[in-house]
């Protein structure tokens, strides 16, 4: 035993990093691998003959299993670096259709670790802390590509002078994990400055940034930096920014991916890696090209099955004594509880899936259900202890993201163990479970206010614990009370009907939950956010709708004060954080994003699609915006409109408490 494994790199030779008593040591391991080829026996015999003639590849006939059962084929030993060429040869011999290749595109490190039953950051007890590994954080901001301030291990430098560069160099030397921000190439430029000042660094490799689309949104991946002998984590990466270093370590631990890879991939890919590691450990072959395509179905069946989650529509207004009850990890729980996996789904027999033509075979445990079982139990465990420590809370957040994507991945065309019928069955069971929960709530004397996929908002004087217990008994899925509100306001959409995800509520413990208001929007000017935060602070002291109504003058005064002081506020209160989604030539409409891009181009700087930029609107009508503080004025009329919209949301909360306005409770029945 050489200590805790914290990283591994390589392909034909895997370099494993061990952490022992605060010191990192590395060991190299040869990594011979293999692929498996199945197909018609005649074609396999032909392939074997050609492999014989090549005199390069050895092979053996073998029987192995994939998720659907045993298959006969040829197992060919090969070094990981040669797998791609070998697969190209086999596909060429098989005319791209005769052979199915397995275990040909697994990450070499992941496979090495899984085959030997090794794991990153292994814990003896789930309550154990993470190993102590030196972390250095170097983040900062730049304006139009020029770094202008820096924070090194929490120490802020307003200018990037020789002291800051000295500290940055020292932090890199002392840290094993380097968390860096490379938005606008910030960290690359800092490294350049370090070298320019005569300091020495280990070998540094940088890659270009790239624009990509995920879930219909354009994102920009900042240029990546690798420093020899260091574990470099980008602070803007989704996993790090959402779950911190401990969450990232948990993703590495559960997915089997090295921490650097875990920080760079989406959580969906991390789940896929976890499933692949599970398959490798259990001797289940992983197809290079999945063959579980969507089955033909009628238009009516398609309409009925491709429905997503059940979402109710609240009547806008205020409600009191409201319970928010949630299914715990609803979709993953359904997958595990109802044994959902590509090989268990069938038509007829077994357990019927409500509202679909499918059923699930109950005879054998499905692969996907087994693979997710451990992850689900682990998440539910950390959820139960997360209040005890920030560490467990971060682990819980990481696992929550992985579980969320584990469901989405079942419908993704490239998911190795996904199948669209599974995806449809999971959502169908989700709709059934929520409908069941609604009926049980109603029977127990509660009135339904709102519901979204796995959550219900109910009000009434019944026994909530009894309701939760009955729902769990009937659906087999755990349900918990996520909040008990003194009051909650559901906001209207433009249509006048209730918005599905826009509300604010005061919990019994005095905390406020807000969704969809300006204060939560990432593209809101700070002045709007600040106003709403102050207004919410006033509302937080109100125990009843009457209390809120009594505070209407205070709210109106706050609004007037904001409106009056608008022209005197610091310019940074008006800098709108924008998400640029297109190239300059694609902006046909006269909007702020387009203005920002044009302004940057005029200054010789290109804003990449998917990146974020802070913009102050100087003159909306003439398309003048400020990117770097060169203008000291704002478009007052534009910002008056913006804050007015933020006022309107707060006004609705107050007005809904008027004694002259009675909330019409939403009544929903199935």
């Amino acid at each position: 035993m050489h200590g805790t494994i914290v990283n591994a790199t390589g392909s034909d030779t895997i370099r494993v990093w061990y952490l022992d008593h605060g010191r990192i040591s590395c060991r190299n391991h040869r990594n011979r691998s293999w692929i498996f080829v199945s197909g018609d026996m005649y074609d396999l015999a032909s392939l074997a003959r050609q492999l014989d003639e090549s005199d390069i590849y050895g092979y053996s006939f073998d029987t192995m299993r994939n998720v659907h059962g045993n298959i006969a084929g040829i197992r060919i030993p090969v070094w990981p670096s040669g797998i791609r060429d070998l697969m190209a040869i086999i596909n060429s011999i098989g005319l791209e259709r005769k052979f199915s290749i397995y275990n040909g595109d697994i990450d070499p490190v992941l496979r090495f670790m899984a085959e030997r039953n090794l794991g990153f950051f292994a814990l003896e007890d789930p309550l154990d802390p993470d190993p102590e590994i030196p972390v250095s954080t170097i983040v900062g901001r730049s304006m139009l590509g020029i770094p202008y301030d820096i924070e090194i291990n929490g120490m802020h430098f307003q200018r990037i002078d020789s002291d800051a560069i000295y500290e940055a160099h020292r932090a890199i030397n002392l840290g094993t994990i380097i968390v860096y921000s490379n938005r606008d190439g910030f960290f690359s430029k800092i490294l350049h400055m370090i070298l320019h000042q005569g300091y020495r660094l280990p070998h540094v490799v940088s890659s270009d940034g790239s624009t990509f689309e995920s879930y219909g949104q354009t994102h920009y991946s900042n240029p990546r930096v690798s420093i020899e002998g260091k574990i470099c984590i980008e602070s803007d990466s989704f996993a790090y920014s959402e779950t911190g270093i401990h969450g990232l370590i948990e993703i590495s631990r559960t997915s089997g991916l090295p921490i650097v890879a875990a920080s760079r991939v989406t959580t969906g890919t991390a789940v896929s890696a976890m499933e692949e590691a599970y398959a490798v450990r259990n001797g289940v072959l992983i197809p290079v090209r999945k063959d579980d395509h969507e089955e033909a179905k009628s238009a009516e069946a398609l309409l009925n099955t491709d429905s997503g989650g059940l979402v109710l529509q609240p009547d806008p207004g205020i409600y009191t004594d409201v319970h928010e009850i949630d299914f715990s990890s609803m979709y993953p729980s359904i997958m595990v509880r109802y044994n959902m996996s590509p090989e268990t789904i069938q038509k007829g027999g077994g357990i019927k899936i409500h509202g679909t033509p499918y059923s699930i075979s109950g005879t054998e445990r499905g692969f996907l259900a087994s693979a997710l079982d451990g992850l689900l139990k682990r998440r539910l465990f950390y959820k139960s202890v997360k209040a005890k420590s920030g560490l467990y809370s971060m682990r819980d957040a990481a696992l929550k993201w992985m579980l969320l994507t584990s469901f989405g991945y079942t419908g993704y065309k490239n998911a190795k163990f996904g199948k669209i019928e599974i995806h449809e069955s999971i959502t169908a069971m989700g709709r059934w479970a929520l409908a069941m929960a609604m009926n049980i709530s109603r029977v127990n004397g509660f009135t339904l206010i709102h519901g979204i996929v796995d959550s219900l908002w109910i009000t009434g004087s019944g026994d909530v614990r009894n309701v939760l217990s009955q729902i769990q008994d009937r659906t087999g899925i755990g349900m918990v009370e996520d909040g008990h509100y003194r009051w909650i306001v559901f906001m209207p959409a433009n249509s006048g009907l209730g918005a599905l995800n826009r509300y604010i509520g005061l919990r019994m413990d005095g905390t406020v939950k807000v969704r969809g208001l300006y204060v939560r929007r990432r593209d809101a000017p700070p002045v709007c956010t600040k106003f709403q935060l102050e207004a919410i602070e006033i509302l937080r002291k109100c125990m009843t709708p009457d209390d809120i109504w009594a505070k209407r003058k205070e709210i109106r005064d706050l609004e007037s004060s904001y409106m009056r002081s608008l022209r005197h506020r610091p310019v940074e209160d008006f800098r709108i954080p924008l998400h640029v989604t297109r190239n300059p030539e694609e902006y046909a409409v006269h909007n702020i994003q387009g203005m920002a891009i044009r302004e940057a181009m005029d200054r010789g700087y290109r804003i990449m699609p998917g990146s974020r930029v802070g913009v102050v609107v100087v003159d909306h009508n003439h398309g003048i915006v400020d990117l770097d503080g060169t203008h000291d004025r704002i478009d007052l009329k534009f910002y008056e409109r913006q804050v007015s919209m933020a006022f309107r949301q707060i006004d609705f909360i107050v007005d809904s408490c008027s004694p002259h306005r009675k909330a019409d409770l939403f009544s929903f029945s199935l």
Partner: protein
């Protein structure tokens, strides 16, 4: 994204938009009634979506239910 067919809710929203357009050239008194009826239909989109019933039929039935409720309330 990734959908091969529109959801019942999307079908209903499209229908509501078409009916709003229709109302835009009606006399004001009738347009108000039309708007009211469209809201009745839209209020029940969750039930329609859940049931699997044809969205147009569900929309019509939702309007009838709301009208019936109002008649009953008026009677009481």
């Amino acid at each position: 994204m990734g959908r091969s067919v529109p959801t019942a809710r999307q079908v209903l929203e499209n229908l509501a938009e078409d009916l709003d357009r229709m109302a835009s050239i009606m006399p004001q008194s009738q347009a108000a009634i039309m708007h009211d009826m469209v809201m009745m239909g839209r209020r029940h989109s969750a039930e329609i979506s859940y049931s699997g019933v044809d969205p147009y039929t569900g929309f019509l039935i939702s309007i009838i239910i709301d009208l019936y409720s109002r008649i009953r309330e008026a009677e009481q």
